[in-house]
């Protein structure tokens, strides 16, 4: 038992160490790990922009910019830490859920360098939850409800999707029970808010 604990601890530590290295080189490594297409695929044919759209400006869609607290951009160190904790804790909980669901024998949970991939297998599909450092967001891709982008709310200590005002863990709390077919409690995870 003790031995087994140690193995798990080593796994955890190596994961953390991996994450640390990844965040140090996040700008170069992230692109390759987050996206299936390498950045070299960027088309030069279609990237010529007006001078007015200088590269340092950040463009948001109208809807996003009307959300409250938009100026509250957390600093990158806090972001990296909170994000890492959120994904790490989600990863552990997903592993537990998958392990306890007998019918999900082909399911797989993988977490590395800011990308959490939860493959439930057919007919459920795959969830991808990843760190998006440039906009200090967590992005989620759900096989049922599609893509969403979450911002961190400092006062409440949770992640919010500003288009509909729901939290990241709220969405998972609603969608995941239909797949794992057991009771779930995402409030166990760090930086969660479930109403």
């Amino acid at each position: 038992m003790q031995c087994c604990r140690n193995i798990i601890n080593i796994r955890r530590i190596s994961r953390l160490a991996q994450a640390r290295t990844a965040s140090t080189f996040s700008s170069s490594r992230k692109i390759n790990s987050n996206m299936y297409c390498p950045s070299s695929r960027i088309s030069m044919a279609t990237c010529i922009f007006d001078q007015s759209s200088s590269t340092s400006k950040i463009f948001h869609s109208k809807k996003l910019s009307t959300a409250p607290n938009e100026n509250e951009f957390i600093d990158s160190l806090t972001f990296e830490r909170v994000c890492e904790e959120t994904l790490e804790s989600l990863s552990e909980y997903f592993e537990e859920l998958v392990e306890n669901s007998q019918h999900l024998n082909t399911a797989d949970v993988a977490y590395s360098s800011g990308v959490l991939t939860v493959t439930f297998g057919p007919p459920y599909g795959t969830y991808v939850i990843n760190r998006q450092s440039p906009n200090r967001q967590i992005w989620l891709s759900s096989p049922t409800s599609g893509p969403k982008r979450y911002d961190y709310v400092t006062e409440g200590n949770y992640w919010i999707y500003k288009h509909d005002g729901n939290s990241l863990h709220q969405l998972l709390q609603e969608e995941i029970p239909k797949i794992v077919k057991t009771k779930v409690d995402f409030t166990k995870c760090l930086h969660s808010l479930v109403s």
């Binding site: 038992m1 798990i8 297409c37 279609t46 759209s53 392990e99 991939t117 992005w139 599609g146």
Partner: protein
């Protein structure tokens, strides 16, 4: 319980390394290699709506413009996208789809339709969302321009 955890660990070790291969659907490659409607429209024209979405820092910026006739029908659409293959394909497809539609019909276009047509993988669903945002931004820009124009006429 201990046995269970270590046997799971063994299973992990035994699994062959999976190497992710970038396999795009032919529809994505088609739009990526032959993008439709690349270009610009005159953004000061009152019949042109411009939508600019994305963030250059994340590697995706999308500009989508629509030209609307007096009956509220979209007669032309152009785009310029700086981003990955899926983002380019999504915006290319979006311009193709909105052409000939009314502004109401165009606002009904969903990211899921684009994702489905291009068979985008889970991580790439965000690209189709960006295209939907771009259409909405262009439509909203057009509507704001029209309202301003009507106000100016009423005052004049």
């Amino acid at each position: 319980m201990a046995l269970n955890a270590s046997s799971k660990l063994l299973k992990v070790v035994q699994q062959p390394l999976k190497i992710a291969v970038a396999a795009y659907h032919p529809n994505v490659i088609d739009h990526y290699e032959n993008p439709r409607n690349v270009g610009s429209l005159d953004k000061s024209d009152k019949n042109v709506g411009t939508g600019l979405v994305g963030a250059p820092a994340c590697g995706d910026v999308m500009k989508l413009q629509i030209k609307v006739d007096d009956n509220g029908k979209i007669i032309d659409a152009k785009f310029k996208t700086f981003g990955c293959g899926s983002a380019i394909a999504s915006s290319s497809l979006a311009t193709e789809w909105v052409k000939g539609k009314t502004i109401d019909q165009a606002s009904q276009l969903k990211n899921t339709d684009i994702a489905k047509e291009l068979s985008l993988p889970p991580v790439k669903l965000h690209c189709s969302m960006l295209a939907e945002d771009a259409i909405k931004a262009a439509l909203s820009d057009y509507k704001i321009k029209q309202q301003k124009d009507q106000k100016a006429e009423a005052q004049g």
